[in-house]
Amino acid sequence: MIEIKGLTKRFGALTAVDDLSLSIGAGEIFGFIGPNGAGKSTTMKILACLLKPDAGEASVAGCDVRRHGDRIRRLLGYMPDFIGYYDDLTVDEYLQFFAAAFRLPRKTRRATIDGVLELTDLTDKRDAMVASLSRGMSQRLGVARVLIHDPKVLLLDEPASGLDPRARIEMRELLSELARMGKTLMVSSHILSELAEMCSSIGIIEKGRLVYAGSIDEAYQRVKGAERIVVRLERADDIDLVATVVAGKLAEDARVASAKPDADNPSLIRVELEPGEHGHHFLIEGVVAAGGRIAAFEPKGVNLEDAFLRLTKGAVQ
């Protein structure tokens, strides 16, 4: 549905997007991840025909962003990271405004608006002034706006930004519902745990360059070695002895990457394993043999944050 090949965009001396290539299939929820200033919003703006690329190609449903802007606008809904609203209108007028702007037939406008209001749970706010909406409602209104012309592709730039936990959950449910409706979603967010729950694939971008694109499972595989185990001892006094034994003796097995006492909690030791599949029994046996008495043994799986931190260098432009 979205094809990007060698896309480059420069602002003066700054290269915001650098030779980016990407492919998103129909019906996917694609999570676009990257530090601030990595080039996510610029990529989305190019796809939404708001910026012209300096080099490379980008197309939405086979329509080139350079030549078929009008066709793409019909197919695509774009919600920017900072949305400006016409706060002198009511919610209903605001949606009518965009229904007319997308040339929806008059006969179908009312039903369409009713539908998106219901979907975004804003029916009660139909006659509320846009200026009076809370942040969460405003974001939902933003989603309602991009749905008004029933686009096949949605580009949502930080849709959960600034929302409280409840509003974030509601937004996540809303996006999942849109995915069930068969829409292709490209979502950028800093809340990686939420992306992990709903995305079928992700792209990680840093300094304008794509450092990873693929499924979340593949990303986990790539950083598999990041498996960590937290061991809590009954006696804090044993910690130095056990850490030394674990780091030294067990390192000979080439299975332990590091073993460090926790700086804040004197009875905790954090062990990081080398890449590959490992059982955990050798670690328990080693700790016990070193004289440590285990109070708790907690393996921590790899999550999207680990993958993100491993795959990026934390650099921003």
């Binding site: 708001l50 009518q96 405004f97 702007a101 509320a128 002034m129 706006r145």
Partner: protein, 631 residues
């Protein structure tokens, strides 16, 4: 933290300490040159536009001086011979000094409202005001620093003229006090304009509206005393040294005390009037020094008042940000119980939704109000009625009573058209709604023309007032009905022109206030600088009167909305009973009948309107190119 974990409260200052804090906070250095001033100067110092504007000011000043110098030189050279010419050169210096002082006065007065219109409301929109208010800075410090930073730029502009003013003294005939008085009056007027601008910026949400309101207030402050004096036929020769006695003015309504308003006080209460006295120096028998000094003190007092009001307004905004809007803006929901949740006051945030048309941009623009609040509209109506009550009773026969409101109304119309038309697309960009608009299927034509037509519609208030004013004279049989036909035609051309150029500037400039300033500069060039230039050139070259001069004078008159307004009102006042075809318009090249004159007015207005239409087409093409959209 104390060992027990309790927080030690800061020591409460005693009475002496509080007094010292208060005195410290009122220290001029702290009030004027605090962190806000330093930040404003740093930010403006980084902008290329600051230096371009200064260069443009210096260039225009050089043109003004050259024209004044050349005009005086030519007059001396062509009309007199030998010794007489040398003697007449002594008048050169006063002419140049008067030109520079007036230019400086008008320029700083026009610039100050544009520079201060966004001082506070831009901070509110960027949500930086609450951050400022969390610091120990007082509201007065914030307001004073804002004024001081703008005044610093205006002072730099004023200083540009100083070498010229001092250098011209070498020709003789100019007293140092004239230069000092003129410069002082310019600076205090600019301070007043800046203070009123900041005050309006606290009251209006948009910078351009604040600037426009500032101009209205300044016109009121500066024009009211001389207009009142004219209204009651107070002439310098008649009243000095007795003064205008209140019983003479107010008749039976006068209070029973022997108060007198001397003419110098009337002159001193208006800096333009005081500057006129300073530059013309008529020697009418009372001290010029007392007038300009009194005027300066009076203007500074007004500026102080405006500053304190602005500070109070910022403090009010600070309180609202902490405790929500004031109770009077809340209202009980209809049918709510006296107790329980329903009894809670709710903010009026609902309205019956209207049906949006198929042209949504135009639909919304046509519904944008000129006055955001009903009470502002009510205030404007009350002020208009007060002015009407002062002008009309017993004065309908007076031609001046018909012409002066037309002059003021036309000037305000031009200011309004220049300032209100420009923000359009720049404001959309600033509010971050333009990107949203660009993701839709709207064509550039719909967006750009929607903005232009909306800008034209929003300017209904002043044309309506002018039509009502003309209507009063027509209804009471003091002016011919043709006035009601010609005035709208005269107004339409400049309004469409400035709406079109405003849309173009709104596309070109990132900030709405910059777009408004550019449109205002265009209006001033077209209807102030060019007529003066034509007048000086033709006066100096003594081209008029001849055919070319008559033609140029006629065209200049017909293309000038204020000039046309005066000319039309002058010709039609007192002609109420005349047959249509018997009316004659006394043009520079001869008398013409009303049909030809109406066609000429329509032609000139149409020419201006077509420039506006052209500018809108240009804006549309540029918008289409910039956004890669087809029509």
């Amino acid at each position: 933290m104390t060992p027990g974990g309790a927080t030690q409260p800061p020591p409460t200052p005693g009475r002496g300490g509080r007094a010292a804090t208060l005195v410290g906070s009122l220290a001029p250095w702290r009030l004027l040159f605090g962190p806000v001033f330093q930040k404003e100067m740093r930010v403006s110092g980084r902008k290329l536009w600051t230096y371009l504007a200064r260069a443009a000011y210096a260039l225009i000043l050089a043109v003004v001086v050259s024209l004044a110098f050349w005009g005086a030189w030519q007059t001396a050279g062509y009309t007199q011979s030998g010794a007489a010419r040398i003697q007449s050169l002594q008048t050169l210096a006063p002419t140049v000094v008067a030109s520079v002082l007036w230019f400086q006065f008008i320029a700083t007065l026009l610039l100050a409202p544009v520079m201060t219109g966004g001082a506070i409301n831009d901070e509110q929109r960027a949500q930086t005001l609450p951050t400022l208010l969390t610091t120990p800075l007082t509201a007065l410090e914030i307001v004073c620093s804002k004024i001081a930073s703008r005044m610093a730029h205006l002072l730099i502009l004023a200083l540009l003229a100083l070498p010229i003013l001092l250098g011209v003294r070498l020709f003789g005939g100019v007293r140092a006090e004239t230069i000092l008085a003129g410069a002082t009056l310019s600076i205090v007027s600019a301070i007043l304009a800046a203070a009123v601008g900041v005050l309006c910026s606290t009251l209006c949400r948009r910078a351009t509206i604040a600037s426009l309101l500032t101009y209205v207030v300044l016109v009121g402050i500066f024009m009211a005393p001389p207009l009142l004096a004219m209204r009651y036929n107070v002439l310098i020769e008649d009243v000095y040294p007795r003064g205008v006695r209140l019983p003479d003015v107010l008749g039976a309504w006068a209070p029973d005390w022997p108060a007198a308003v001397p003419m110098p006080a009337i002159l001193a209460s208006s800096t333009p009037a005081a500057l006129t006295i300073v530059t013309v120096d008529p020697g009418v028998g009372f001290g010029v020094r007392s007038i300009w000094l009194a005027s300066s003190v009076y203007t500074m007092a007004l500026a102080t008042g405006a500053t304190l009001l602005a500070a109070a307004s910022v403090r009010r905004a600070m309180r609202h940000s902490m405790s929500g809007p004031p109770p009077k803006r809340r209202r009980r929901r209809k049918g709510a119980n006296a107790e329980g949740e329903d009894a809670q006051p709710v903010i009026l945030a609902h309205r019956r939704s209207r049906t949006v048309s198929d042209h949504p941009v135009l639909w919304r623009e046509l519904r944008q109000p000129l006055f955001n609040r009903k009470r502002t509209l009510a205030l404007a109506i009350v002020v208009s009625l007060v002015i009407a009550a002062l002008i009309y009773p017993g004065n309908l026969r007076d031609e001046g009573a018909a012409i002066v409101p037309i002059v003021l109304g036309m000037m305000m119309l031009l200011l309004q058209a220049a300032l209100l038309s420009a923000p359009g697309l720049a404001a959309e960009r600033e509010a971050r709604t333009l990107d949203t608009l660009l993701t839709t299927r709207l064509s550039p034509t719909e967006i750009v023309w929607g903005k232009t037509l909306g800008a034209i519609r929003r300017q209904w208030f002043i044309p309506l007032l002018l039509m009502l004013h003309a209507g009063v004279f027509v209804v009471f049989g003091r002016a011919h009905w043709l006035l009601l036909v010609l005035l709208p035609i005269v107004m339409l051309g400049p309004v469409v022109l400035l709406a079109g150029t405003g849309t173009l500037f709104g596309l070109r400039f990132r900030k709405p206030v910059a777009a408004s300033a550019a449109n205002l500069a265009l209006a001033l060039t077209l209807w102030l600088a060019l007529p003066i230039l034509v007048g000086v050139l033709f006066g100096a070259l003594e081209i008029a009167p001849n055919e070319v001069g008559e033609f140029v004078a006629s065209v200049t008159l017909m293309l000038h909305p204020v000039g046309s307004g005066i000319f039309i009102t002058d010709n039609l006042h007192g002609a109420a009973g005349d047959a249509f075809l018997s009316i004659e318009f006394d043009m520079p090249f001869g008398d013409i009948n009303p049909i030809v004159f109406t066609m000429l007015v329509a032609l000139c207005s149409g020419a201006q309107a077509s420039i506006g239409v052209g500018a809108t087409f240009l804006a549309r093409a540029r918008f289409a190119r910039d956004t890669g959209r087809s029509s």
